[in-house]
């Protein structure tokens, strides 16, 4: 009961933090481009403004799916971010929650995709096919890298992996070569999951006008944007907990509690800047074939290597 209360309490926290992180990301992105950039709380303004706008459902859309998918996407993404945050706060491990988190995050992007393609707009359809291709490309190495982590820690629970790090007073990514490879693979998959340049192929603004988002506006768009912000936060938070749980280095009582969680959030922000802000500043958008080739050449190979190394207990 207590755990569920904590989980529910985490929902507004995730809402706040994910939008705040998006604001910081936008500000730093702007500064790197010699721009002033929007205020850090701009995503909140956007959210409120969009929510006050008219709801428009195109006549060509199948309205049920079109309106339901943004809600499911946002709910799934926020839940996906709340679970690791709640299990870290409550210090409880739920068996198999890693699988649930990854499922919820995949669910969130699939829902946006389905909603976009149900709009009846050809750009939505192209966006759907592009996102589907990308999903196949990045989801596999991501899952395999998680498998190698669980092989190492003999658990599929998020908090078990965190507590292993606390027990050994080390960051998982630096313990063994297999885990270093897994961490790199996971981080390489984040830009594609977050749909940022160079992998924002499914939403390429200058090519297919934001793809699945083309017909969305008002509250639906606000929800889709929230889903994206929350899933970005969830992914980086997951990566932080699995590979770089910094409070573990402090040891003892400092490795748990509110202070530790704040340190975790700072680490998450740094990971978010490194995996989302930096690539979207320094790269040009790839084409779908090039991106697919990249993911099946480097991250897939490295994830398989991570599994092989963990089986060999390296």
């Amino acid at each position: 009961m207590n755990t569920i209360a904590i989980l529910l309490a985490m929902v507004p926290v995730v809402f706040f933090i994910s939008l705040l992180f998006e604001g910081i990301d936008r500000k730093i992105h702007a500064r790197m481009q010699k721009r002033i950039g929007p205020p850090i709380i701009q995503p909140f303004y956007d959210f409120i403004k969009l929510f006050n706008k008219e709801r428009i459902v195109p006549v060509t859309a199948s309205s049920g799916i079109f309106t339901a998918t943004p809600i499911i996407a946002a709910a799934a993404a926020i839940l996906g971010a709340s679970i690791p945050l709640a299990s870290l706060t409550a210090e409880t491990s739920v068996v198999g929650d890693l699988i649930l988190i990854l499922y919820l995050l995949a669910m969130s992007s699939v829902m946006v995709m389905v909603g976009g393609s149900s709009s009846g707009n050809p750009y939505g359809a192209i966006g759907f096919s592009r996102k589907m291709t990308m999903l196949i490309a990045y989801e596999m190495p991501m899952l395999i890298s998680i498998v190698s982590v669980s092989l190492n820690c003999f658990s599929l629970a998020y908090y078990d992996i965190v507590s292993t790090q606390i027990r050994t007073k080390s960051l998982l990514a630096f313990t063994r070569p297999s885990m270093a490879v897994a961490a790199i693979t996971f981080l390489l998959c984040i830009p594609a999951t977050a749909d940022v340049v160079p992998f924002d192929i499914s939403e390429a603004k200058t090519e297919i006008i934001h793809g699945p988002l083309v017909e969305y506006g008002g509250p639906y768009l606000a929800l889709v944007k929230l889903a994206k912000a929350a899933s970005n936060f969830a992914l980086t938070f997951l990566a932080m907990g699995l590979f770089f749980h910094l409070p573990a280095l402090l040891g003892g009582y400092a490795s748990v509690g509110l202070g530790a969680i704040c340190l975790c959030l700072v680490t998450t922000l740094i990971l978010l800047l490194l995996t989302i802000t930096v690539p979207r500043t320094i790269f040009a958008r790839l084409k779908i074939g090039q991106a697919f080739k990249f993911y099946w050449l480097i991250p897939l190979a490295s994830s398989i290597m991570a599994v092989v190394l963990s089986i060999l207990e390296l």
Binding site: Q33, K34, A125, V197, P198, I201, T281, F283, A284, L286
Partner: protein, 398 residues
């Protein structure tokens, strides 16, 4: 057979309103999977009737009217028009005026090329490069403002000369600014050689040498396909006959979007060279004839001539026919986009959807310059474009 069963061609309308296209142009693209099998380019969304408007105004009014044909190459249009008037009226501007005209011309080329390079970066999703390029472009715009008082429509030209002189202080300022710009352009050149940029530009939108010759494409589009043509060298105007040693024509043979981008980047360096030479060699003298332009205008006799200049986008041609009563009988403008837009179809076929924006941008289209008459019958809902034959028939009737 199997191929046909598998993928039915999908028709995608691109434009007239599309975030990748800065101006209204419509592509009806037929795609199979991601590959483009057919393209139908439609113009005519921003026709403004400037040629017709010019015929009802006097020559000075028309000078300011033609400047408004294009916001990017406004100086090219006025230079081309004043050149024609000066030829008909037998007016010879001083060398200082011609040099100043050329100076603005080359600054404008830099501003236009930097503009386009920024757009190219934006189209391939490289927003940072886009911001950096436009940051460099601001330097040129600031110079324009200091020299002429305006950032975009400089109104530098007048019949028989130019309107603003260059002080010694200003010469220094331009030199300083050039140094800064050279540095940032070198940096931009390096970033354009980035791997992801190369992957998006190389081999995209290929227009072979023979096709380029057949379609008569002009300017950097032609030079990117290896066609050696440059009005500045072939038919020197303004002060270019004296500046032949200070620039060379940049040619590339790979004929793709990358080649066209490279041509523009290296033309920026050539422009810097030309401007430095102009500032060195700037002769003394008056900048205009000293007679009021209204008097000059009334002295221009009836006559006709063709005037060409190398605008940033390519060859710009004016046919001017004056009526001897301060007005025009006929003004015909052939902007570089008109031949270049024809090249889009062979460029696009065989590419992917992802390549459409960057290919369209690589010819640096300026739609408002290129639009010709479309007649729309609202009752029947049909659009009809009046072609060359029709126009000629109408012309003969009148």
């Amino acid at each position: 057979m199997v191929d046909k069963m598998d993928y039915t061609p999908l028709r995608i309308p691109l434009g007239p309103v599309h975030p990748a296209l800065k101006e209204p142009i419509s592509f009806r693209v037929t795609v199979r999977k991601e590959e483009i099998v057919d393209v139908d380019v439609q113009l005519g969304h921003v026709h403004r009737g400037i040629e017709s408007l010019a015929e009802s105004r006097n020559l000075i009014q028309t000078l300011y009217l033609v400047e408004r044909i294009c916001g990017i190459c406004s100086h090219s249009h006025t230079t081309c028009f004043t050149q024609a008037l000066e030829e008909i009226g037998g007016i010879k501007p001083s060398w200082r005026a011609l040099y100043l005209r050329t100076l603005i011309f080359e600054l404008e080329r830099m501003h236009s090329h930097l503009f386009l390079l920024g757009i190219m970066a934006y189209e391939i999703g490289f927003d940072t490069l886009f911001m950096f390029t436009w940051h460099a472009r601001e330097n040129v715009l600031d110079l324009f403002e200091e020299i002429t008082g305006n950032r975009i429509h400089h109104s530098m030209n007048t019949i028989g000369g130019v309107r603003w002189d260059l002080s010694l202080h200003m010469v220094e300022k331009i030199n300083d600014s050039l140094k800064e710009m050279e540095k940032s352009i070198k940096y931009i050149e390096e970033v354009f050689q980035d791997k992801t940029v190369e992957e998006r530009l190389c081999g995209v939108g290929v227009l072979g040498y023979n096709e380029a010759r057949e379609l008569c494409v002009v300017g950097p589009t032609a030079r990117g396909s290896g066609v050696s043509m440059d009005i500045r060298r072939d038919y020197p105007y303004a002060a270019y006959s004296e500046l032949k040693e200070s620039f060379s024509v940049v040619l590339r043979n790979s004929a793709d979007a990358c080649a066209r981008t490279e041509v523009r980047i290296f033309e920026l360096f050539e422009s810097i060279n030309i401007i430095r030479t102009i500032l060195d060699k700037l002769p003394n003298g008056a900048i205009s004839t000293g007679i009021s332009v209204l008097k000059l205008m009334s002295k221009i006799p009836e006559g006709e001539t063709v005037s060409i200049v190398e605008a940033p986008r390519g060859e710009l041609l004016y046919f001017v026919k004056t009526n001897g009563k301060e007005g025009l009988l006929r003004l015909k403008v052939r902007t570089p986009t008109i031949p270049n837009v024809l090249g889009l179809k062979p460029m696009l076929i065989g590419c992917e959807i992802a390549d459409i924006p960057v290919t369209a941008a690589s010819i640096d289209p300026c739609m408002a310059c290129a639009n010709r008459i479309t007649v729309i019958n609202q009752d029947k809902g049909e659009a009809r474009v009046i072609n060359w034959e029709n126009l000629r028939r109408r012309g003969k009737k009148q």
